[in-house]
């Protein structure tokens, strides 16, 4: 079972390749605000949720797919890990 660090690393590379092409990976630290800063808009957030559901075979409920649960890499890893 992947631990939170592994989930974080995998999610980081997904976000970099999918939404931040050309970005220096060092800039995407674990506490960068992804949603409140506009890095992920609503469509990108939906894409991310679908990716997480498929990769980890989990279900993220509609009410969980928001800024409170997905705003940083740490938040995302926590949410995913809690469902494994």
């Amino acid at each position: 079972m992947p631990d939170q660090n592994a989930i974080m690393a995998a999610t980081k590379s997904f976000i970099l390749s999918e939404f931040l092409e050309g970005e220096d990976p060092d800039e995407l630290t674990e506490d960068v605000e992804l949603i409140s800063s506009g890095i992920l808009d609503s469509l990108a957030t939906l894409k991310l949720v679908t990716h997480l559901e498929n990769t980890y075979d989990i279900k993220i409920e509609a009410h969980e797919a928001d800024e409170d649960n997905l705003n940083t890499l740490v938040d995302i890893a926590k949410l995913v890990a809690s469902k494994l």
Partner: protein, 520 residues
């Protein structure tokens, strides 16, 4: 003419116990209570010296408190200026200072930041704090606090206003980098609401969606048509409005019957809302406006939601809806072209002109111009832009130039062909690419900035910024997005950034937008 606030007063007198509004929390308020709360707002504003022609700001999320404040402002004879409470406070403060609001309702959490930004601009309107907007209770306690501090406000009468009195000022993206205020009168609004009555034939058991934010002109149909017809207005939380699963559940739970939003919201519902698992049988009319609805998604929607009326409404904030087209019951499988925007609304007139302002022959492409009682009075404090917005040298009427290129089809009315300038629609929001460039130029490292919109199947358009920097090095995309999100609304933040040593130029040394667009 029946003033906007009289709609509420008449409905409260005739159907006082009926639910007027459902808040995003699910709490409700009756017509009698809503009208009573709005009366208290009016009395307090009058006591503060607010009267006919004054402006009062709203920096509050959608709630029963907000709607009561709107009607109270109108009852006082003033105009309301709704500001996007989710956008940066600096932008909100610019708008409120620009139109010189005398008072402003502000959401608790935003008060400090907004007051600081207002002070920095030398503005000091009377701040009325609505701590946690929801079912009207916060607005009531705000008024209680005023009563305790300044004595109970005397009961006044609602203002007698005419069609030329100000109703509201809606700020839209401005090409020069600053939002511009579209000044709309009571008469502008009521003639449109009367048109909605004719076309929608609302019933007392209707439940209108309120998806668009109040600073967006779609809200005029939602609020005033619902209230005029003693129906119920169902407010949709801004965040829920972007989450298809929850949105689909809210439509079912609240029994919405008349829907109105940008097409991109409906596309999102079709693709991610699992509509087949929901009971949306009560929806009877679906209106959409603000951008082109791709036929492929419209067809899917009509298959998932059969047996409803589908109306394509078209019109800029400056005129509200000015043409409309009712989609036929079935969309042919092989149809790819978007549907027309249709013939001009019954209360307005339309012509199509060439770049010199001369009418073109029927069927030729040109710019759509609109005249009639819903056409804006002016832009706030922008005489030059106001003059440019109308056709010069016409003595027969004030013809507003929409900037939209159309051609007239003898059978179906107008067909939308594109824009003549640099405005785009993203998720129904009006975005001036120039305003984004003006934001980017504030960045200390940026030398040149050019922003273009490229079509995208899922999002409608994607906004891409092309940049060159002073030291020739790239800037972190994360830092750039953060920089933008602190200055402009999130929907205006570019989706992508590309760096160039220098931006490509045309032979006259202007930025070559065409090359940037095509990526050549």
């Amino acid at each position: 003419m029946t003033p906007l606030h009289r709609f509420l007063e008449e409905s409260a007198a005739r159907r006082g116990a009926h639910v007027a509004i459902v808040a995003p929390s699910g709490r409700t308020i009756t017509y009698a209570d809503l009208d009573g709360l709005a009366d208290r707002v009016r009395d307090r504003l009058v006591a503060l010296g607010v009267g006919r022609g004054d402006r009062v700001g709203l920096f509050v999320h959608k709630s029963i408190d907000t709607v009561a404040a709107i009607f109270g402002i109108l009852k006082a004879g003033a105009a309301y200026v709704p500001v996007d409470a989710s956008a940066p406070a600096a932008r909100g403060a610019f708008i409120l200072a620009d139109c010189g609001v005398k008072a402003c309702f502000v959401e608790g959490a935003a008060t400090e930041a907004l007051e600081a930004e207002l002070a920095a601009k030398g503005a000091s309107p009377r701040i009325l704090e609505i701590e946690t907007p929801d079912d009207g209770a916060s607005l009531a306690s705000c008024l209680d606090r005023c009563d305790a501090a300044q004595g109970k406000a005397a009961v006044s009468r609602s203002a007698e206003v005419g069609p030329d009195d100000l109703g509201y000022v809606l700020y839209t993206s401005g090409s020069t980098g600053k939002p511009k205020g579209v000044v709309l009168s009571q008469g502008n609004a009521t003639c449109f609401v009367d048109w909605c009555s004719d076309v929608l034939a609302p019933r007392e058991d209707d439940r209108f969606s309120s998806h668009a934010p109040f600073h967006f002109d779609l809200s005029i149909l939602d609020i005033y048509t619902a209230i005029k017809h003693r129906a119920t207005l169902v407010l949709i939380d801004e965040e829920v409005g972007k989450r298809p699963g929850e949105l689909a559940a809210w439509i079912e739970r609240t029994g919405i019957t008349i829907w109105y939003s940008a097409p991109s919201i409906l596309t999102m519902l079709v693709q991610h809302g699992e509509l087949a698992t929901r009971d949306h049988a009560r929806v009877r009319i679906v209106c959409f406006a603000g951008e082109v609805f791709p036929v492929v998604h419209l067809r899917s929607l009509m298959q998932l939601w059969p047996g409803k009326r589908y109306l394509n409404l078209y019109g800029p904030t400056e005129t509200n809806v000015c043409t409309w087209y009712e989609i036929p019951a079935t969309v042919p499988e092989d149809r790819k072209d978007p549907y027309p925007i249709g013939p001009v609304c019954a209360h307005l007139r339309a012509i199509v002109v060439d770049p010199e302002g001369r009418e073109v022959g029927r069927g030729s492409e040109g710019e759509l111009c609109i005249a009639g009682p819903s056409v804006l009075q002016r832009y706030w404090n922008l005489e030059e832009q106001t003059a440019k917005a109308f056709l010069p040298d016409r003595t027969d009427d004030r013809w507003y130039r929409t900037g939209d290129l159309v051609r007239e089809d003898p059978e179906h009315g107008y067909i939308y062909m594109g824009r003549r300038d640099r405005m785009v629609k993203k998720r129904g929001y009006r975005v001036e690419l120039g305003e984004i460039e003006a934001c980017l130029y504030q960045h200390p490292e940026i030398l040149e900035a050019a922003v273009v919109a490229v079509p995208d199947e899922a999002a409608g358009v994607l906004i891409r910024a092309h940049l060159s920097t002073k030291n020739g090095e790239k800037i972190s995309l994360i830092k750039l997005k953060k920089f933008c999100s602190e200055r402009i609304p999130v929907y205006m933040v570019p989706d992508g950034f590309a760096f160039h040593p220098v931006l490509p130029k045309t032979s006259t040394d202007k930025v070559d937008y065409q090359r940037l667009k095509t990526g050549a």
